[in-house]
């Protein structure tokens, strides 16, 4: 599999090169470089899992090879670039063509994504579609090991011909194959408290995309029509696994096959009156699939009760339609305007499926039968920008934007966003440029659950108070300030500050406020051709405030307040607190700091030295407070390690140019990553005992590492 792209590409290049060489009418020249070297990476003994180190990189000890060849004549060109040859992150790209006549590209881009090395599972059959085990098995030392990792290989190409005319035709095709293991989990029982199980599922995904495009493009106007077809296929759409709680073979659903087709029409008209350009786009896309519906599934007592769906196949069918228009005008030297309209519609034409499992199946939803929910929505957006150049060095831009969104969601069916902004840019001083932007957003949504629930003992009653932050009413203020200065020869400095505050003004339960503050500083000195140093500091503070209600004084299905009167009004946040029912709030703060310094130095004609040092820290906390009168069994202790990380990265790299033909590069890199999080510190592979035990895999649990890498590359240039 790995040799395939090279086996295809190298003969093509040789053929192409031969064709050029055979052309006696054109002086076709090649120049370029070929590099060969090696890399060695060692992790310290305290590194338990080096997956994070290698998350998107292949730093494993071995050969490093790269190639960069450019061939060109008066009319034609052929470029070949390749790096990390034969490694998991190999990249190959070939581009060529004849100027203004045609062009082509072939590429192979491999990507590795490592999450966890040496993860554990009590199951046999890892990599297959059925996982078997004798459970309970709480001795994780006896479990099987697997690497939670996937490799993605994107091979594709394109060909475009215009033959020196405004008309063009283009076709693109690529295939993305993804292989490896990912993690799926899931509650073991029908309700919380019966454990969960991590399971590796096989990733054998293939996506094939093919598109054709034709059009006319000139300075006066353009129009293009594109047809894209994309097919996603998964070799395993179901995963069977031994369920420790129910005691039988359970089933999890994996990503379904699908096909997507999209037709796009793009165009513009330039040189209209008032210096105007009209641009537009229309698209129509359909995504479909056919998924057999599971007519039974493992449940209580190891039985496989009927799910009783009202159809046997789910015929997925989603249509996306969009249209956009934008009119830009520049009627005078001082004024420019843009008005725009965007329309988006998602029609989910998939059938609603109703399941009516029996009352003893353990498969019922809270309202007995289960009816699937799909979302359709349409969004209309209009807006306008007005730019006014007060003088050549002062410019102000006013913006207005309006969005009307309609959806078939149970809590909010309509949302209207009104946004106003003003930006000012000043370049009066040659050595100083400043920018300020203020934006105000008001979002108002139509809430459907103001009368939910018959009374405050009814579980539906709480929905009167829950306003989900993605759609709830909000007032947002955003301020951005930017400054770029060149105070002296070779010196430059910049600053950017951002403050964004969301006030979810009508929210009783849910996120009530969030604030983001960001500060970015950088100072540079020097000439990049000789010596250049850059220092930066990035600081980010984010805070989320939220209010919630703990409701435990309930019984039955659905869970009504019980016993009464002690728990009366348990679903009403205005009810006085007791041990079972009370409000609580959380303040979650995330802090992120990054400081970097880097320098490029050319100490002598043949030498170039690059170095950088990066220090990063993240620090998350949660503070809780509980409604007076509550006396919770587990006191609300603050969390002081919510994704706390520290990372240091040092890079040193030197290049010596022995001659025009030979160049030597060597480098050393040091990285240290430390991770602390309440969800993973003091990690255990199992929680609980007996049939109610949870089985964990170790995924994400041990990402801390310390690593040293050295590498060298000898490059031959011609």
């Amino acid at each position: 599999m790995k040799t395939k792209p090279i086996a295809v590409l190298i003969p093509m290049i040789l053929t192409a090169a031969g064709a050029f060489a055979a052309d006696g009418n054109e002086a076709f020249r090649f120049e370029g470089a070929v590099g060969l070297g090696a890399i060695s990476t060692n992790t310290s003994s305290g590194t338990r899992d080096a997956a994070k180190l290698n998350e998107y990189r292949d730093l494993s000890p071995g050969v490093l090879g790269n190639v960069d060849i450019k061939g060109y004549g008066d009319n034609r060109y052929l470029n070949l670039f390749g790096e990390n040859l034969g490694r998991d992150d190999q990249y190959l790209n070939v581009k060529g063509g004849e100027y203004t006549i045609y062009k082509y590209q072939l590429y192979d881009n491999r990507l590795v994504h490592n999450w966890t090395f040496g993860a554990r599972t009590p199951y046999a059959g890892v990599g297959g579609a059925t996982l078997t085990a004798t459970l309970p098995n709480l001795n994780a030392n006896t479990w099987n090991r697997f690497d939670y990792t996937q490799k993605r290989d994107d091979i594709g190409g394109m060909f475009e011909v215009s033959n020196n005319s405004p008309w063009y035709f283009r076709t693109d095709a690529n295939q993305v194959t993804t292989e490896g293991l990912k993690l799926i989990s899931g509650a073991n029982g029908t309700s919380p408290g019966n454990g969960f199980t991590d399971k590796p599922f096989p990733v054998d995904f293939t996506t094939r995309n093919f598109s054709v495009e034709g059009g006319y493009a000139s300075k006066q106007g353009q129009v293009s029509l594109t047809l894209l077809h994309s097919r996603f296929s998964n070799d395993n759409e179901l995963l069977r696994w031994q369920n420790a709680f129910f005691g039988g073979l359970d089933t999890s659903t994996l990503p379904p096959d699908s096909e997507m087709s999209k037709l796009s029409l793009n165009g513009n008209l330039r040189q209209l009156p008032l210096g105007s350009t009209l641009a537009g786009r229309m698209t129509y896309g359909k995504t479909t699939n056919n998924v057999p519906i599971l007519t039974n599934i493992l449940s209580t007592g190891g039985t496989n009760p009927a799910t009783n769906p009202d159809r046997t196949t789910f015929d997925g069918n989603i249509v996306h339609q969009t249209a956009s228009l934008s009119l830009y005008s520049n009627p005078t030297k001082e004024i420019d305007t843009r008005v725009y309209w965007n329309w988006f519609k998602k029609d989910n034409n998939s059938p609603t499926v109703t399941f009516t499992p029996s009352g003893t199946s353990g498969l019922q939803c809270s309202n007995a039968s289960c009816v699937t929910e799909t979302l359709s929505y349409d969004k209309t957006n209009v807006g306008a920008d007005l730019g006014y150049r007060i003088n050549p060095h002062n410019r102000v831009v006013f913006g207005l934007d309006y969005v009307d969104l309609n959806r078939n969601r149970v809590d909010f069916d309509e949302t209207k966003d009104k946004r106003a902004s003003v930006e000012y840019k000043n370049t009066s001083f040659e050595s100083l440029s400043t920018r300020v932007k203020y934006q105000y957003l008001q979002r108002r949504s139509h809430f459907l659950e103001a009368d939910a629930g018959a009374n405050s003992n009814d579980p539906e009653f709480i929905n009167r108070f829950i306003a989900r932050f993605d759609a709830s009413n909000v007032n947002q203020n955003l301020l951005k300030v930017g400054l770029d200065a060149t105070p002296a020869e070779l010196w430059d400095a910049s600053f950017e500050g951002i403050v964004k505050h969301n006030d979810y003004k009508d929210t009783v339960l849910g996120r009530t406020k969030d604030t983001r503050q960001e500060l970015y500083f950088s100072v540079g000195y020097g000439d990049a051709q000789k010596f250049r140093v850059l220092v930066f500091a990035d600081l980010e503070f984010v805070q989320y405030d939220s209010v919630h209600r703990n409701i435990n004084g309930v019984a039955g299905t659905p869970p009504v307040c019980s016993p009464l009167p002690a728990n009366a009004g348990c679903y009403d946040p205005s009810t006085a607190a007791n041990t079972n029912n009370y409000n609580w709030d959380a303040t979650n703060k995330d802090r992120n700091y990054a400081y970097g310094v880097g320098a490029d130095w050319v100490p002598a004609q043949r030498w170039k030295i690059s170095s950088s040092l990066l220090w990063q820290r993240t620090y998350g906390t949660v503070d809780f407070s509980v409604q007076p009168g509550a006396n919770p069994a587990v006191p609300a202790a603050p969390i002081n390690n919510f994704d706390n990380t520290k990372k240091v990265s040092l890079n040193l790299k030197g290049t010596y140019k022995q001659s025009d033909a030979w160049e030597y590069t060597g480098g050393y890199a040091y990285e240290r990553f430390k991770f602390s999080d309440i969800a993973y510190d003091n990690y255990q592979y199992t929680i609980g005992t007996g049939t109610g035990a949870s089985y964990l895999s170790g995924a994400y649990a041990f990402p801390s590492y310390t690593a040293h890498s050295v590498y060298f590359i000898t490059t031959y240039k011609f």
Partner: protein, 342 residues
């Protein structure tokens, strides 16, 4: 495994070396043409018609003006009739300094990121004169870069020979990457500093590693979509790569269907899987109900805690996702699908 990949690398290099060696000796005509150009300072040096400029601006200039010969523009110059004045203007007063002038006037168009350069619109026009018909620029006027006085030369360098003709003014500051390519993000983040901060975070797309580019998602040359994303909506953009998430699913999670950005932040996060907030808090900001959705999971419920009920399965590991695993959508039946459990 490694033996196999090393062999592939060596074989590839061997093949490539064959091509290189075959092409090593340039055609005699090409070498002669170079010599001819060097013979007289008043003759064209690298582009047809450049003598007008290169009689003064030659290899002794601080800025490598003649290097344009090695760029795509230089190589294509003959085919598309390109020379210095095509971009810089005829610049008569610069070439023939007016009598009495104390300083030589600047060329008609002056490019570069800093200093007293020509206004952005005028600089952009120099490029649009030829590239105005490029369909990649179909929405240039609708994009934010034009609105914010960004011209082509803010990002692109014209005179330097590079695989990617993008400006890079500063040293690279990042963890070790094994790519030798100039990475696009370094150009973009020289202005978009808040994005630089995010790309370096613990959880990120492989942009710093060179496997994705800013232009994988955005069209810096203008787009009709907000944030100049290349697709019509955020979700269509995300699922163009994450095709396993595009469904259709029997059970949808409404905020997922409306925008991936409700839960994820694309440029970088302190939290794994690019989540905007650490679960269970992220989930609890929308979900409240009797028993576990409305219960707090606090600092004494992690692994190793001696508090009753610890460790709590709704806090440790993947928190809510330990049970509600198919949160992007599920095709499982009945309540197993309704609650994204299977």
């Amino acid at each position: 495994m490694k033996t196999s990949t090393s062999s592939v690398a060596v074989l590839s290099l061997g093949a490539v070396l064959i091509i290189a060696l075959a092409a090593f000796t340039p055609p005699a005509g090409a070498a002669d043409a170079d010599k001819g150009a060097d013979a007289s300072p008043h003759k064209d040096l690298v582009l047809k018609g450049d003598a007008k400029c290169t009689r003064c601006h030659d290899e002794t200039d601080d800025y490598p003006v003649l290097e344009i010969a090695k760029t795509t523009h230089g190589k294509a110059a003959k085919a598309v009739s390109l020379t210095c004045t095509s971009c810089h203007g005829e610049s008569e007063s610069h070439i023939n300094k007016p009598e009495g002038a104390t300083e030589r006037p600047k060329p008609d168009r002056v490019f570069g990121k800093k200093g007293a350069r020509t206004p952005a619109d005028n600089r952009a026009q120099a490029c649009l004169g030829c590239h105005g018909g490029d369909r990649h620029l179909a929405f240039w006027e609708s994009g934010r870069h034009k609105k914010n006085d960004v011209a082509c030369d803010n990002c692109h360098v014209i005179h330097q020979a590079k695989n990617v003709p993008l400006r890079k003014d500063n040293p690279t500051i990042s963890p070790l990457v094994t790519t030798s390519r100039q990475l696009e993000y370094e150009t973009c983040t020289s202005c978009h500093k808040e994005i630089r901060g995010q790309l370096l975070k613990t959880s990120h797309h492989p942009i710093v590693e060179g496997k994705l580019k800013c232009t994988s998602c955005h069209n810096p040359h203008g787009a009709l979509s907000p944030a100049m994303v290349k697709d019509e909506s955020v979700n269509q953009l995300c699922t163009s790569c994450h095709t396993d998430k595009r469904g259709p699913f029997m059970q949808e999670h409404p905020p997922v269907e409306e925008s991936c950005l409700n839960c994820h932040t694309p440029h970088g996060s302190s939290h794994r899987q690019l989540l905007v907030q650490h679960p269970p808090n992220l989930c609890q900001d929308c979900h409240d109900w009797s028993r576990h959705p409305g219960t707090y999971y606090s600092g004494n419920q992690g692994f190793g805690s001696t508090t009753s009920g610890a460790p709590n399965t709704r806090l440790v590991a993947r928190a809510c996702l330990n049970c509600h695993t198919n949160i992007h959508g599920s095709n499982a039946p009945a309540m197993r699908g309704k609650f994204f459990l299977r």
